[in-house]
């Protein structure tokens, strides 16, 4: 039965503009980084473009593959945390915004399958985006002919980006729960922004390793220097957040009043 629910969830995405919007939004990241790299490498030509050149020079960037990889990981990690929250808010929240949630609740299908199928759809969607954006990043980096490329650095960058993307994904069941609790798009998006802000606060208090929404920013260097590894305790926190999010999402679907 899960297969049918999963197929139904994918059918619901047909002609959805949100899928294309998410791809366009995330692909702007590598484009922006590539543009900055070009400005740093060509300061004379960039100066003719105005303030952009000055800003890029002030940021202390170097136009090399290692710097480029570092920023690409940042785009996947930080941009991804927000975009993924948006995707999950859409997948779960649309059932309430479009008034279709009630049509799912009295069927010969356990309600937990809907929650799990939606999370699988989000995972597939997110995986496609991450792969597409990393591919775009490599193509743009190659087009710029940046110096300093090594296979080790490339593999390390891909590994870090995938790890950041995976951890970002593990935090989204909580966002899904908020989408159902708030019955729409806005509450989960507000929640995601609030958690990112709190993640920043916790990072400055020495609790970054224990607050789920601080772990990705700390790992990819959005706050301070990039961490080389993720502490086992942080992984446990993320895993517990994932499981708690799934449990809360299923419980909300199963036991809460679902009047619209």
């Amino acid at each position: 039965m899960f297969a049918q629910v999963l197929v139904a969830e994918f059918v619901k995405l047909r002609r959805s503009r949100v899928t294309w919007f998410s791809l366009a939004a995330l692909s702007l990241g590598p484009l922006a980084i590539a543009l900055m790299m070009w400005i740093v490498r060509e300061p004379g030509r960039a100066a003719k473009l105005g303030l952009l050149g000055t800003k890029a020079n002030l940021s202390g960037l170097t136009a090399t593959w290692p710097a480029y990889f570092s920023m690409l990981t940042l785009v996947v990690g930080m941009g991804g945390m927000l975009l993924l929250a948006f995707i999950v808010a859409y997948i779960f929240g649309r059932e309430y915004t479009e008034g279709t949630a009630k049509n799912l609740l009295a069927l010969p299908v356990g309600r937990h399958w809907f929650a799990l199928a939606k999370l699988v759809v989000a995972a597939v969607w997110w995986a496609v985006l991450v792969v597409a954006v990393l591919a775009e990043g490599f193509v743009l980096g190659a087009a710029l002919a940046l110096p300093g490329f090594t296979t080790t650095a490339a593999v390390g960058a891909v590994r870090d980006a995938l790890l950041a993307a995976a951890i970002a994904y593990l935090l989204v069941p909580v966002v899904a729960w908020i989408a159902m609790l708030g019955r729409g798009y806005l509450p989960p998006l507000g929640f995601a922004f609030a958690m990112l802000a709190l993640g920043d606060v916790f990072s400055h208090t020495g609790w970054a390793a224990w607050f789920p929404w601080s772990i990705v920013p700390q790992f990819i260097g959005a706050i301070g220097k990039p961490a080389t590894t993720i502490a086992a305790g942080s992984l446990v926190v993320v895993a517990l957040t994932f499981l708690a999010g799934i449990a809360a999402t299923i419980a909300q679907l199963r036991w809460a009043d679902n009047a619209q």
């Binding site: 629910v5 139904a8 047909r14 009630k102 609740l105 009295a106 069927l107 036991w255 009043d257």
Partner: protein, 303 residues
Amino acid sequence: MSAETAIATRALTKRYRDVLAVDALDLDVRRGEIYGFLGRNGAGKTTTIRMLLGLIRPTGGDVEVLGRRVRPGTTASFARVGYLVEAATAYPNLTVRENLDVQRRLTRAPRAAVGEVIELMRLGGLADRRARVLSLGNKQRLSLARALLHRPELLILDEPANALDPAGIVEVRELLRSRASEQGVTVFVSSHILTEMAHLVDRIGIMHEGRLLEELDRDQLRAKERLYVEIGVSKPAQAATLLAAAGFAHVEHADGRLRVYGAQERVPEIARVLVGAGLDVSELTETHEDLERHFLRLTGGGD
């Protein structure tokens, strides 16, 4: 609950903080019948339907649908139930056919069921149109098609005639009738459109302020459409006794007035009996009671 019962509720109650939406509702809907669930806006009809479908948790009491107890989150008997609750909704980016295909997968209906129900609900010309461009009436047809897709044994329909034009209303009425008479489908239908109910149902339950005020079967519904003489009189209880003694068999006393059924040819005689006993008669009117008038009187919405 017997095997002949499609829906049974016992002391079913739903309270939202200070509001008692449904108050100790006992309901029995027999298999194969069309049961009209009538009430004004806010009477508790939709809340009851939501509890029948497990969409909300009762504050108290039990619900059984097709022999299985309904609890939120369980699949109960829902493979055999089709439903439409409140406004018609569909995925706006999907076509009519795709919306029904989603439903087909979730109800394990055969692939051919989509085409059949599109034809049944006369949605053929719109099958490849996106739901977002459908008129309200066609969205309602799509929602009804969704409810009918997997050939359910029980249809629970909340205001199914909403947004339909008069021809559509007749069409849906005929469809529900034929499902009930030819396939033995039980239909539980809520509405506030009284005339529509009178034409469709086998039995009717009238809800008001969360309580089931009255249930009437088809014969009783017809009886309510009888002619009667309405009497305003100073001592109604005494007047009722006098009229009964004078041979008027069907005298009802309600709200300080008397109704004498089957007596429209005997109005002068009624006047003689009452005035002769020294009672003050303020009104003596021949009236035709229809379901609407009966409903309004019951729910306090009439004159």
